[in-house]
Amino acid sequence: MTTKAEQDILLDHNYDGIQEYDNPLPGWWSGLFVGSIVFSILYLLYHHTGVEGRSIYDEYDREAAEVFEKRFAELGELTPDKQTILKYMEDPKWLAVGASIFKANCVSCHGDGGLGNVGPNLTDDAWINVQSVEDIAKVITNGAAGGAMPAWKNRLSHPNQIVLTAAYVASLRGKGGGGKAPQGRTIPPWK
């Protein structure tokens, strides 16, 4: 059997019987090696010569602006007052935003659907730190009970999120059925 290998030039190296061919570097190997070096130089020149707008932080700001635009452009900046919260309580589209935030951050204490776990049940008429609906936004913002309820003002990326979450929490009232036993005082309806 004659293969290409047998026409290669053998060097006079012999290490414990191992010999070596004097084959050249494969062309594609050298080509890709040089190519990767060229790419690397261009990459560094593009990203790391101080041109504005090319850092990961610039990318981050663009992405954040884009999402905020998508989320809140039509809302503007909401104020956490009674009227606003009650308004969005009736708006299924924006309530879904509040629901998403609640799912991300609140269910671990207040349970699925706000039925309560370590934190109180949010579906009944008994409330601990809330007298009227705008208090929900205050509690979310500043926390309560010496940190048992954490403050979220630094954690949510946009103030509207607090209003919409408050609206969602308000909407949970009366949607319970079971869950944790009521805690606090019974308060009048939101409206």
Partner: protein, 771 residues
Amino acid sequence: MNDDSSPSHTQGHENAESLDRFSYDDGIVRLFFWATLVWAIVAFTVGVFIALLLVLPDLSGGLPYLAFGRLRPLHTNAAIFAFAGNALFAATYYSTQRLVKARMWSDALSRLHFWGWQLIIVAAALTLPLGITQGKEYAELEWPIDIAIAVVWVGFFGVNFFMTLKHRRERHLYVAIWFYIATIITVAVLHVFNNLVLPVDALKSIPIYAGVQDAFMQWWYGHNAVAFFLTTPFLGLMYYFLPKAAERPVFSYKLSILHFWSLVFIYIWAGPHHLHYTALPQWASALGMVFSVMLWMPSWGGMINGLLTLRGAWHKVAEDPVLKFFVTGVTFYGMSTFEGPMLSVRAVNALSHYTDWTIAHVHSGALGWNGMMSFGMLYFLAPRLFQTKLWSKKLATWHFWIATVGLVLYIVPIYVAGLTQGLMWRAFDDMGNLAYPNFVETVEAIKPMWWVRVLGGTLYLTGGVLALVNLVKTWQGRPKTYEVPVVSAPPLAREYRDPPPPAPRAEAVPEFAKRFDVWLQLAWHRIWERKPLRFSLWVTAAVVTASLFEIIPTFLIRSNVPTIASVRPYTPLELAGRDIYVAEGCYNCHSQMIRPIFSETERYGEYSKPGEFVYDRPFQWGSRRIGPDLAREGGKQSNLWQYVHLVNPRDIDENSVMPSYAFLTRERLDFRQIPPRVAAAAALGAPYGEALDHAEAMARAQAKTIADSIVAQGGPASVALDNGETIPLEETKAIALIAYLQRLGTDLYAQPAEASAQRSAGPTAGKKAAP
């Protein structure tokens, strides 16, 4: 080997009348042979067990020694340092003696090396389940063991190896030896510099580096442990055993030279690609990335030289299990060294980092490359070491196929899991909200893949057991006494004349072009190959220079680690809690590094800043999110929630895969150990001031505040220890851990004045408004 004693073809052996007669030390190879096999089974078994823990978190029975966070380091250390380590030693001892025609310089050093290394492994197997750890991946072993590693590696292995080279009877060093040289030198440098620590007591230390710098050093080490512990020695193994088994010459000597030097020089830069989007300065991770991209071809040089050496010998692969293992091993090497550069690209890394993709990648390297090459070597060695036929070639072939199927069943579902989870983390719905806001949802989605992984791992382990049976049976067929072949070779003559330098290949060119052409023909390298000292110095220069290019700026440029005025040292109790976090290996599942990627800040909060980590020794950024990031965990949950969650995470979320840490509520915190711990942090620059004098009292006060709040929220006031004794909640380890968790990431929002108040009062919510 019938060619062991054949005369060498190299020049310079004129004194044929004065032949040295000697024998090779195969006893030491037999020792490393068995150690490789035994530790392989141990490493795979622990791997299968911890894979099961992820799908059945209560399997540990709540025992601290069996928790995932403690056993995962045991698995990685066993796989890397015990299994692959012993394999590379077996390869080095067997091949070096034959390649340089000399017995190992000192049989005593060889034995010291063997037994020392096994003792280190046993020490690791004892300390890691006990939670004695430095908390840095693949560098978990505590300082006394680290010193032992340095002594065994440099003092026993290194000295023995280089003295053997000095007394060699083969003029030139073969490429396998180059790779062994690079391994020994570089691993020593990496190990020593990553493990510079301040001992607190006999079993606890803190690194001299903090935060960003510690992270940089760790991944300089971590990535190059892959490079110089799992790659270069295994390339050396390949360069000896593959041509031996195939009985074919190596494809290209020139390629060996080029890919060796480019690999050694380029690899060492690549570490920071593990830190894309972190608080490490961007220029450093960018350097890490481009050097990883440039590393693709140098790595593939090894694959090409391996696979093309088999030209004309492929028919042998069909019948020889040894070659089957080697071919598969080299192929997986090629795949992982393509994937590595790809994962280092920032845009890809943004998706892959913290997911199972990395886990799939390392297992295609460890099981595919290191595992297959090691088993191929063991099957090659067995008949030679035990001087009999392999007990069953058929069983070895079965091992090969079972291992290959196991490998595929391991890595494919884990790739799918990685991609699935990575995409779920970043998914937004139409309104721009996180599509999967609850982290546990993204875990639920990949549990089926984790089950398939268990199956794949079990198959790979089964292969290992088949190897054990086969090789023990082979050993049983050994002769009563081993024959010790006497080898004869002339000593190296004092005088040696190199062949004349090559002529330039073109005449009608300027003088400098002619010189360059002569240089390109690499005769100078042939001269290096007969000068081990010069060769080793150049290797050292290559790795040290490259390292310093990244290390010096990281340490000297102040702006690389901006300080934040409101960032204060941990309180004494938080420091104790942090030590618990480190000891339990929480970093194996939780990162503490929020990347500036929008989906990430939506999930976890403001991205991490370099200045937030200046008191973190060791840094705990982590590399995998089996659970959510904890960089801004402080204040996110109530103290009671943290308590309930530690006792049983499934009381909070039934789908959680976190083990129960109820044992922390049944263990007493030793407050008397806190002052020396605070003193050590202060010695490394943390401004504790007066707190140094009453660290214990401060810790007790803070513990009481936290315990009181838990009691007020409905938690228990006292808990029963395992011995039946009842103690107040504030004296348990759980409270210290909660203190630490509640501090995480809060300093950024604290006012400087408030920060000092926090030190005694514990965390409170910050005052700064949202950005």
